[in-house]
């Protein structure tokens, strides 16, 4: 701060507090709703303070789900989400590390073409090519499987670029020394490059885990079997009970549980999260 202006400082904090409240309020309301019973929503206004049904609602959702809405118990959907998010994050990191390694440390004929093919994936988000992609996955018999849920999302241009940038900053001497000492390419990769990339991998993992967790359209298209539902798409099914008013307290319990894991990841790994976010976007 350049000079001391008490009024401006007051204004600053006011702006921030209003901002924090604005950001938190919808989530607070959802949490509050999830602690109430069925009858508390009939009065025509959402309750503003937590009620006494917290444990009961969450236990019901976690262990039984709402069978009428075709939603399995939440623990199944939560573990599916976890599995899928981890497969996507690990898969993206693994194949991107390998391809960045190939592009930076080797010279081969189709290097430039390979680079461009990877680059193009940036321009083809799932939302844009849903029907043909769906068709490919259906033809391969991958509907209702973890492979079908994850594999089509695993190519990653951003991760490849990030690792490429990072590999370019690694001094040439390191590799020359390794070669003089008789290390082959895979040994160099495993014993030198991977340990050096640790922070980058961790930061990227945080971002990609979130990316995998929040997927909605793709899981919705490729799963019809409730054993493979992810929590994010399952919630939509819970909420969209055609004409009847949704059972708000239970829907909001599911919403809270679906938000919690990735939000906790952001809060507790904030430093890695920010690093990952800022660097993947460059």
């Amino acid at each position: 701060m350049v000079e001391n202006r008490p009024f401006l400082s007051f204004l600053t904090h006011l702006v921030l507090i209003i901002g924090v409240v604005l950001v938190a309020f919808p989530v607070y309301l959802a949490f509050v709703a999830s602690t109430h019973g069925e009858g508390d929503f009939l009065s025509g206004l959402v309750p503003l303070w937590p009620g006494p049904h917290l444990i009961e609602n969450y236990r019901l959702m976690l262990t039984e789900g709402i069978s009428t809405a075709g939603a399995p118990p939440l623990w199944i959907m939560l573990s599916n989400s976890l599995i899928i998010a981890i497969i996507i994050a690990v898969g993206k990191i693994a194949i991107s590390l390998l391809s960045a390694y190939a592009i930076v440390f080797f010279k081969f004929r189709f290097r430039l073409i390979a680079f461009w093919i990877i680059f193009i994936t940036l321009m083809l988000p799932v939302e844009v090519r849903i029907i043909p992609t769906f068709k490919v996955v259906a033809d391969l018999g991958l509907l209702n499987s973890y492979v079908g849920l994850t594999l089509p999302l695993i190519a990653s241009a951003t991760a490849t670029f990030l690792f490429r940038q990072f590999f370019l900053t690694i001094p040439d001497e390191l590799m020359e020394a390794a070669r003089v000492d008789g290390a082959g390419p895979m040994k160099f990769f495993r014993d030198i490059l991977l340990p050096l990339s640790r922070t980058n991998i961790a930061a990227l993992f945080v971002i990609l885990f979130i990316y995998g967790w929040v997927q909605y359209l793709w899981p919705m298209l490729v799963t019809t079997d409730s054993r493979y539902y992810t929590v994010v798409m399952g919630i939509k099914r819970l909420a969209a009970t055609a004409d009847a008013e949704p059972r708000w307290h239970l829907v909001m319990a599911a919403v809270t549980l679906a938000m919690l894991p990735p939000v906790l990841v952001v809060i507790f790994m904030q430093r890695l999260f920010i690093k990952g976010l800022v660097e993947t976007e460059k």
Binding site: T12, L16, I117, L217
Partner: protein
């Protein structure tokens, strides 16, 4: 393209290393994209027995279709509103966080977590808040004499999706603005202060212009976000309704292709969207290259 001074001599290994990434890309990205381009030039008969090549008929019909023009208009309004709304709010918060010293970590933590909330969940949260029968927002608005029902009123529905989509994007913009603000040299603002410029003048004449690379970058990213990543928000809040008032291009591709089973038109829409992404990505990368030089 840049490489190392010394490289490994292996001939086969790089292909093996690249194989998984290229296989996924070719099978799930390039091939489907080519299929989309191909079927955008074809018409399939109702029974799916034969397809005829019809040149640009799908496109001609698309651009003559009032509901497509409507969706394009909606997308434009939606993208611009979300971008402006979310970016200005984030800039305000970022400037504020940049002024406080001791509590800035705390505020940052409290402001960044919506990034991790799935778009469809964001949609449900706001749908709940604005639910005409029990939501808190319609209740408060009734006190002000506004009757809120986004199930009937198209412009209210649009407002709702704009608010929800902006809320989700605040944390992202905020982080990038904070990073941008931290790279503005202190000495410049101090010099201006000595010359007698007040905080507002300093912001508009020094900080804001120096922030323009960040602002421009975010502009592109936000337009991209509003156009392509908001599918879940639309689907959870309004599903494109009422009467197509919130149907945006990316939602229409899905609705026409999967619910309406109009493959040719949906493919043509996909191709148009791809062209838009290509333009946006090109702008973004051109700009990034420029930034690297500085």
């Amino acid at each position: 393209m840049q490489t190392k001074r010394t490289i490994f001599p292996n001939k086969l290994l790089p292909y093996i290393l690249l194989a998984p990434q290229l296989a996924v890309t070719l099978i799930f990205f390039i091939w489907p994209a080519m299929q989309a381009v191909k079927s955008s030039f074809e018409r399939e008969d109702p029974f799916g027995f034969k397809t005829t090549f019809i040149w640009f008929d799908n496109y001609k019909r698309l651009f003559a279709d009032p509901s497509y023009i409507n969706a394009a208009g909606n997308t434009f309004v939606f993208a611009i509103s979300v971008t402006v709304f979310s970016m200005s709010l984030s800039l305000l918060l970022a400037v504020a966080v940049n002024r406080v010293l001791r509590t800035n970590r705390l505020y940052t933590t409290l402001l960044v977590w919506p990034y991790a909330v799935a778009p469809v969940v964001v949609g449900i949260l706001w749908w709940f808040m604005f639910n005409p029968s029990i939501g808190i927002a319609p209740y408060l608005l009734r006190g002000l004499g506004v009757s809120w029902n986004h199930r009937i009123d198209g412009s209210q529905a649009m407002l709702l999706v704009i608010i929800a989509a902006s809320w989700k994007q605040i944390s992202y913009n905020f982080l990038f603005f904070v990073a941008g603000l931290q790279s503005v040299p202190q000495s410049l603002t101090e010099a201006a202060a000595i010359d007698g410029a007040g905080p507002f003048k300093r912001f508009w004449t020094i900080v804001f212009p120096l922030l323009s690379p960040t602002t421009f970058f975010l502009l592109i990213v936000n337009i991209n976000y509003a156009m392509f990543d908001t599918f879940g928000i639309i689907d959870a809040t309004t599903a494109g309704g009422p009467a197509q008032a919130t149907n945006i291009l990316v939602y229409k591709v899905y609705a026409d292709g999967f619910l309406g089973l109009n493959i040719g038109s949906s493919a043509a829409q996909s191709v148009v969207l791809m062209l838009i992404v290509i333009v946006l990505t090109a702008i973004q990368f051109r700009y990034v290259e420029r930034r690297v030089q500085y």
